[in-house]
């Protein structure tokens, strides 16, 4: 209760400008069906039979590769869909951990695709719990170059981290300015792990795959071992630095990872109501950021990072605004395509808001995908089917945006895979908005925009 009061107090005092859009009422929970005028649902596939259908979702960005990866969560699988026909996504591949009936845990959580040379790969993160097989498994890496032929998809590596069992909850695949394809992974220790993906897919000694670690200066010690929950990595063309934006559960931190073997801390965000600091996504230029904290009633907070980015302060503690789909719920992950923010908002489905004026976020539209009973979300244990009667952790879990044409895909824990288009959003290039063309989407062939080309590309290995 104390935590809840602190959180609400922070919201009230620190972010009085905007939360829910002024003048908007919230619908009755049982009226959350369909969508708003500007959001168009194109396709929907449940994906699984049981009550829990998906965790995160990942979409490839090459126009010639219309593939979407649905993380199967407690089903322990990954499904690959061909979304060439957006009204009828076609499942073309499904892989499940061996001996699934003996495994226990939340399973297939996060997925990231990447490209090295002319080959495409997909890394599926896993989390299995104590006593389960594969409790040390962080990710399974597939060569998916041969899609859509499923017979050509191969498991090429498994990343294990027995030093801290429990797997990887979130991951980020990043084309570093030095030419390497890197894989950042959360772990149940007070740091993030950095893998060189070329070494991973080339096989060899797994002890050589791990090339860096990013300490977590804002741990939330009440939870586990003080690790990160999530992060974003992006290039800053103004400073010519690769920057790591970490959500450390007790707060947020920004690191210079230009040399990932020796990260340098730049600044932090710590403040009241930072319990379970969950997600941290900057604007393309790093000036602003959207953050999430994982508890009911909290809004997404908007921050001006300038004082931190310029070295004027070591810590920022006051957001400039906030946004929520419905104050009674919780909005989850998000993708920033400035000025738009695409949110997988748990019980409130897909939500889109506009940060043109960062101090006054404006809702653009929504589509309710969960169609679920309020506060009957994920919780408990495997033995009760992960059911809860208090949790709002259900519904829209992950979201991804295809930059070349604006297709939006969303994974819903209760209802599976959804495809959308948003009126007026036909793709995204940062330059069209006066920003660097920097987002979670990587230019695997050329590296980040504005970066000096490395003298040699170390990750091709003749592929």
């Amino acid at each position: 209760m104390r935590r809840l009061i602190l959180g609400v107090a922070t919201f009230a005092f620190a972010a009085p400008a905007v939360a829910q859009d002024p003048g908007m009422s919230v619908p009755a929970f049982d009226a959350k069906r369909g969508g708003s005028e500007k959001v168009h649902m194109l396709g929907h596939v449940p994906g699984h039979q049981g009550p829990w259908k998906a965790a995160d979702v990942e979409m490839e960005q090459d126009p010639s590769r219309p593939y979407v990866y649905l993380c199967g969560f407690t089903n322990f699988d990954v499904q690959i869909y061909d979304v060439r026909d957006q009204s009828s996504p076609k499942k073309i591949y499904d892989w499940t951990i061996e001996n699934p009936e003996l495994h226990r845990g939340i399973g297939a959580m996060d997925g990231k695709y990447f490209k090295i040379g002319n080959r495409y790969y997909y890394a599926q993160s896993y989390q299995f719990m104590q006593g389960s097989p594969d409790a040390d498994l962080g990710a399974v890496v597939f060569d998916v170059t041969g899609l859509p032929d499923p017979s050509k998809v191969k498991v090429v590596a498994r990343i294990r981290y027995p030093q801290a069992p429990g797997g990887f909850h979130n991951t980020f695949a990043y084309k570093h300015s030095d030419g390497r394809a890197l894989y950042f992974a959360t772990v149940n220790q007070q740091k993030a792990l950095v893998y060189d993906l070329a070494k991973v897919v080339s096989g060899g000694d797994p002890s050589s795959w791990l090339v860096g670690e990013v300490p977590n200066p804002t741990p939330f010690k009440q939870i586990g071992a003080g690790g990160y929950h999530d992060f974003y990595v992006g290039y800053d063309p103004a400073t010519h630095q690769d920057k790591f934006y970490g959500a450390g559960l007790g707060g947020y931190s920004v690191w210079d990872v230009t040399k990932p073997e020796a990260p340098k801390q730049l600044f932090t965000i710590t403040s009241l109501g930072m319990d379970i600091a969950h997600t941290f996504t900057p604007s393309p230029d790093g000036r602003y950021a959207v953050t999430e904290t994982e508890y009911q009633y909290t809004p997404l907070r908007i921050w001006d990072l300038q004082a931190g980015q310029t070295g004027k302060t070591q810590n920022i503690d006051l957001p400039i605004s906030a946004w929520t789909a419905d104050w009674r719920d919780l909005s989850h992950n998000h993708e920033v395509r400035w000025p738009y923010v695409f949110v997988s908002a748990y019980e409130d489905g897909l939500q889109v808001f506009d940060l043109t004026d960062p101090k006054n976020p404006k809702t653009v539209g929504h589509w309710f995908t969960c169609e679920c009973q309020h506060e009957h979300g994920f919780g408990g244990t495997p033995d009760n089917g992960w059911q809860s009667t208090t949790s709002v952790e259900q519904g829209a879990f992950g979201v991804d945006v295809r930059n070349y044409d604006g297709l939006v895909v969303l994974s819903d824990m209760r209802t599976g895979l959804w495809l959308f288009r948003v009126d007026g959003f036909k793709g995204w290039n940062g330059r069209d908005h006066g920003m660097p063309n920097i987002s979670s989407v990587q230019d695997w062939d050329h590296g980040p925009e504005g970066a000096q080309k490395p003298a040699t590309t170390t990750n091709d290995h003749g592929r």
């Binding site: 226990r104 939340i106 104590q130 006593g131 389960s132 097989p133 009440q222 939870i223 408990g380 033995d383």
Partner: protein
């Protein structure tokens, strides 16, 4: 405060389901109504506590099972067999046959292991081949900290 309380609550299912000698058994889709539990008991020893020559504790396992269907209803199977498997599933040790009611099987001298009950074509198969109907984890298998996300702790109610 709420966090602390919830973390405390999260420990309750483990304590109830798996005491220091108890193994909760979980069903699989092959036999969803089956249920049961198991308890580690020291294997017979003139010294009271049974250990191997290199010092590992040696147990028998008392398995109590209910609502196991006829093995033949699952296919060409005649018996239910209990196995102890290492957590990486690389080593499987056949422990004995299981019926509805109480059965004692063993010995097992693994530190951490999975207790797996499968339907098999023979009561003494050389390796496991049939479908799993019940499985559980030795109490020693719980001795790891996984508190890295609310979802993973079952604290949300």
């Amino acid at each position: 405060m709420r966090i602390v309380a919830l973390i405390a609550l999260s420990a309750v299912p483990l304590l109830v389901a798996a005491g220091p000698y108890d193994i909760a058994l979980f069903a699989t889709p092959k036999a969803p109504s089956a249920h049961g539990s198991a308890r580690l008991v020291y294997a017979a020893s003139p010294f009271g506590v049974a250990v191997t020559a290199d010092g590992r504790a040696q147990y028998d396992i008392q398995v109590t099972a209910a609502e196991l269907p006829e093995a033949s209803s699952l296919g060409a199977f005649k018996a239910y067999v209990a196995w102890a498997a290492t957590p990486d599933l690389s080593t499987w040790v056949r422990l004995g046959t299981i019926r509805n009611g109480t059965s004692i099987v063993g010995h097992v001298d693994l530190n951490k292991f999975l207790l797996v009950i499968t339907a098999e074509a023979d009561s003494a198969p050389p390796r496991h081949a049939g479908p799993t109907v019940l499985h559980g984890t030795s109490p020693s298998g719980w001795l790891q900290s996984f508190l890295n996300h609310p979802m993973f702790r079952g604290i949300t109610g």
